[in-house]
């Protein structure tokens, strides 16, 4: 939408200030105190950003390392996605009030404040579009999601490298951000390249000390993106994924279930998972009751509960549901797979189950590795 411009690192504080002056609360990546991971949280300024921090990711492992770099966005992705700022993990939908034998229903008016998210990655922007398709573009519109989505300002930052768990290149969602942003940055060693993707974004950057980007700066940004394209993991190609439905009785599901704890971590960190359960919170005086929803997981036993029966009764069935939904059943539902290659499900799996590797194994694209399953029977403690 706009030409590429440049501003020095010192002016990043000015960008955050300009966003705030436009009435937005600013969410950015910051180190979760004492947790050793990056999350999106409200930030006061550049001092809250993870300067010089790099994330090392592997199946079942996430570690932050100090690099001494002046960069603020030298990490790949955060523990939690931006999902929670639009589709809240827990929220009140409506309340019912009982009065003189009658029942009155009151919707919760979602007075969403303007929210800007700084440092959004391509995989998460693509996932946001998938959530939009689910909550906004169907027959029924979710008014709570909609209220927040309309007030969201997205400042994307292109990745400069990939984590070992990344596979966005194979889903076609990254690493380069190509749309869906208000402002897009490439972080260089001494400053930022900036592009504007919306009128709102243009208004915010109007007073920044921008200058046209030089050829050398463009080349440096391009080289970084090339580096981020070099990813170790790749999902099978679309025509192969389209055959996943022929593998519902694969013996591999049982081998996965041997390791899977059915904990639901993968669904909690997944930027596209949308399942939620509804529940009631009645007031103690009995005069009113609130109807809430909170995030649910297809790994929970009661997810598929129907009177007297659980349809997906074991871990094998639940992992199969999770993977085939993401990579196969999402296509007829929303026109594409439900995975954008962020790799969080693999990083945050306590058993280190490698989603991409398993998809390849099930489709016959890779050999199953020998894996030692730890047997915990208490004898270790006795010794």
């Amino acid at each position: 939408m706009s030409d590429m411009q440049y501003f020095p690192r010192a002016a990043l504080a000015g960008l955050i200030e300009a966003i705030r002056d436009a009435g937005y609360r600013v969410i950015g990546p910051r180190e979760e105190t004492g947790q050793g991971g990056l999350v999106y949280r409200e930030i006061d300024g550049v001092e809250d950003l993870p300067q010089g921090l790099h994330d090392r990711q592997e199946p079942g492992r996430y570690r932050l390392e100090k690099t001494g770099s002046p960069r603020y966005f030298a990490w790949v992705n955060t523990a939690s996605a931006i999902k929670s700022f639009v589709y809240a993990p827990r929220e009140k939908l409506w309340r019912a009030v009982r009065k003189e034998g009658r029942m009155h229903f009151e919707a919760v008016e979602r007075d969403a404040g303007k929210t800007a998210i700084l440092g959004v990655r391509a995989c998460d922007l693509a996932a946001l579009d998938l959530q939009d398709a689910h909550f906004l573009r169907g027959k029924f519109v979710d008014p709570y999601y909609q209220a927040r989505r309309e007030k969201l300002l997205l400042v994307a930052v292109n990745c400069s490298h990939a984590a070992a768990t990344c596979f966005c290149a194979s889903t076609g969602d990254g690493p380069e951000v190509v749309g869906g942003y208000d402002i897009l940055l490439d972080e260089l060693e001494d400053g930022y390249l900036l592009r504007v993707g919306s009128t709102r974004g243009a208004v915010i950057v109007a007073d920044l000390p921008l200058e046209p980007a030089s050829t050398a700066q463009r080349e440096a940004a391009w080289a970084q993106l090339q580096q981020a394209r070099g990813q170790q993991r790749a999902l099978p190609a679309a025509p192969d994924l389209a055959r996943l439905g022929e593998h519902l009785e694969s013996a591999r599901w049982t081998r996965i279930a041997d390791r899977c704890l059915s904990c639901g971590n993968c669904t909690a960190v997944c930027p596209t998972c949308f399942c939620h359960r509804e529940f009631e919170v009645p007031a103690l005086d009995g005069k009113s009751t609130e109807h809430w929803r909170d995030a649910d997981s297809c790994f929970n036993e009661d997810h598929s509960y129907i009177v007297g029966e659980v349809v997906r009764h074991g871990t094998r069935e639940r992992y199969r549901q999770w993977m085939t939904h993401k990579l196969f059943n999402w296509v007829p539902q929303y026109g594409r797979i439900g995975c954008t290659g962020c790799g969080r499900c693999t990083t945050w799996c306590p058993a280190g189950i490698d989603f991409v590797a398993e998809a390849n194994i099930i489709l016959g694209q890779a050999e199953a590795p020998e894996i030692d399953i730890p047997r915990v029977d208490g004898s270790e403690a006795a010794q």
Binding site: W94, G101, F135, G138, E278, P282, R320, Q321
Partner: protein
């Protein structure tokens, strides 16, 4: 913009205890505008809300004028509490949701209903529709299976239907020892031999447990009924009813909005996979 999660208020104006654990509510929307604008297609369902407890998906039995009829079996947390509610209690209603029985497509053809257990409730409105428009349809065959005869609902109604021209009403009890007049012993499959209808020009509508419907559908296909002519109504965990909460998924289908009524070929392969 309307909020698709928000129920309307309705009053229980009549209740009938059909069997020890099945009851029927006659509901009236308290807002006349809602009552006026509400209309459903046979086979769709409502979300009924019990104050402080939650919602359940229940098929609509009928919508006569300003009244709404729901037949409910007390099996879960919400429905057991609902059975205890006295007349005049106010509840919540959202709906109607989901797909409908193919009553238009069935015109001029033989119509076959196959139900088991409380599966008869979701098709009763359709049977009544076919009876009321009898000339529009070919033969009418109603097959109903229950475990014990005393769990069968509306037997006098079935007796009355039996007297209609070109109509067969076949009943069976799978666990009874006594064989009553008009009743067979065994599952619904024992009725299939007796049923007389044009296998190449019929529409079948089924409601009951997954296994019953899958077995019956496969048998009917073997007998020569085109799969496209067979329709099943599925039950899954439904919480939002608008395709958002994710619980009711079967393969790529959201049962609440793409179903609950499916053409058999849409779900035949999926229902073959245990635990999917």
């Amino acid at each position: 913009m309307t909020n698709c999660y928000l129920p309307w208020e309705a009053e229980i104006v009549e209740r009938t205890q059909e069997t020890p654990d099945i009851f029927t509510w006659k509901l009236r929307f308290t807002d006349p505008d809602v009552a006026h604008s509400y209309s459903f297609r046979h086979g769709q369902f409502n979300m009924l809300y019990l104050y402080g407890v939650g919602e359940v998906a229940i098929s609509v039995m009928s919508n006569d004028g300003e009244f709404l009829l729901h037949t409910i079996r007390a099996v879960g947390r919400v429905t057991k509490a609902m059975m205890e509610l006295p007349l005049g209690t106010h509840v919540g209603v959202r709906g109607p949701f989901g797909s409908a029985w193919p009553l238009d497509q069935a015109k001029g053809k033989d119509v076959v209903f196959v139900t088991a257990g409380l599966g008869c409730a979701p098709v009763t409105s359709s049977i009544k529709h076919v009876v009321s428009q009898r000339a529009d349809y070919g033969r009418l065959v109603i097959m109903q299976s229950v475990r014990h005869r005393n769990e069968g609902l509306w037997e006098p109604q079935y007796d009355a239907w039996r007297e209609l021209p070109d109509t067969q009403v076949l009943l069976t009890a799978s666990r009874d020892k006594t064989r009553w007049p008009h009743w067979q012993l065994g599952r619904v499959s024992v009725l299939l031999d007796e049923a007389q209808y044009d296998k190449h020009n019929c529409v079948v509508m089924m409601c009951g447990p997954d296994a019953m419907m899958a077995d019956t559908a496969r048998t009917l296909v073997e007998l020569g009924v085109p799969g496209e002519a067979i329709h099943v109504s599925l039950e899954r965990n439904m919480q939002c009813a608008v395709g958002h909460c994710g619980h009711c998924q079967l393969g790529a289908h959201f049962v609440c909005k793409d179903g609950p009524i499916f053409r058999w070929p849409e779900v035949a392969e999926l229902m073959r996979v245990k635990g999917y």
